[in-house]
Symmetry: C2
Subunit: 259 residues, 2 copies
Amino acid sequence: MKIVLIGAGKLAMNVGRALLGAGHDIVQVYSRTMESALRVAAVAGGAPTTDISSLSTNADVYIVALKDSVLADIIPLACRGRERKIFLHTAGSVPMDIFKGMALHYGVFYPMQTFSLEREADFSRIPFFIEGNDELTRNAATELASSLSEKVVMLSSEQRKHLHLAAVFASNFVNHCYTIASDILARQGVPFDVMLSLIDETAGKVHDMSPADAQTGPAVRYDENVMRSHGLMLRDNPLFKDIYDRMSLSIHKRSIKKK
Amino acid sequence: MKIVLIGAGKLAMNVGRALLGAGHDIVQVYSRTMESALRVAAVAGGAPTTDISSLSTNADVYIVALKDSVLADIIPLACRGRERKIFLHTAGSVPMDIFKGMALHYGVFYPMQTFSLEREADFSRIPFFIEGNDELTRNAATELASSLSEKVVMLSSEQRKHLHLAAVFASNFVNHCYTIASDILARQGVPFDVMLSLIDETAGKVHDMSPADAQTGPAVRYDENVMRSHGLMLRDNPLFKDIYDRMSLSIHKRSIKKK
């Protein structure tokens, strides 16, 4: 398919490279700055542009991969004059209807993953959650997603919103727990890499058992001595202490519920 | 070495099996109940017992792998009449000196990992943090740990306490984030396994970059619309909402500090 990529962040970079690899033709890459448009065009192909109002009219699908907060401003400009094309956004938490009245054929193409510029994502394992306002769009989104991934799931905007919230816990908050651990270790002069085996096993366990069954640690045992001692070590950082206390309480409550 | 294993939980089970595999001789396995003593003896060898005061005197090393809250009660009983033997405990957050006055040679043998009865741990990748009150104990702990793992680190009780706190964040709290994600998905009828690719990549990223650099999501972008919408979805669960708000604030504060 002929594709215009609107956006040049971490997600656009990885999706663009994967689409090119799957044999699609990236016609154009839009970004607010020429520098980032060029960076993505260098790996995904296509002509870089910073002029949203003069996007090519010579593509089948327009993929909008921008941060959520600018979608409402950019979408009207991207759609104007291209109303008969297919528009897809890539945001987990934004309803499909953000395109309503702007384009005739619109939907969602959400790859649930945490992307970075430095690491090349392996799309075959990344689940795509798609949606479309008509069959033409759903078929196009399915075809695109299936060309990248083995796991393509049709999901409503409402369900996807909850899925995205779950992903914030399972990825963004998990990563912040790693950051807090890294900060605690840094103060003791211990390198973060001592944690990697534990981190890998914690992720590995939930392939085999439910996370509630996999829970270990002082909070699930409700070992008050250990928790009090941990609280003392966190006294310089009230926010970390708050997170510690609420996580421990939540683990304890959840483990009682399970019994 | 000839070893008596005191305790029959997840850690004792995994350590016992690994020690047997490395050619050591498990003489005896103590537990409060015969059922769990038998379960560990079945994979680690040794005679099961529930009588702490009549432990064998025919071993080199006594490994105390009990939950932290019972250590102070059991250690005096375990040491009495065996004062000249080497005693090691396996707890991350308990000082070595819990043995002081009870035994002559004592220390710590802490494998930092999250264990379960169902999954067999691969000890070669698990870091061991060891300590000893004299050279005899340090040598024995080093020899035992090196027979299981490639990563053996001498660490003070004070440093180990902080390491254990870091591990609570990087493993126990991470797992609870998985549980919350799983609970959110269950209410939408979405199976938890859609999260596994995201979970694996989140763990994988911090092998290549610092967790602070790997952070993504609405909180680091400080996308208030998304965070407000997530807050609404959590309105039935004030504790999850609290965790969400504090994690988001902490991610945001940490990302400003980094800049």
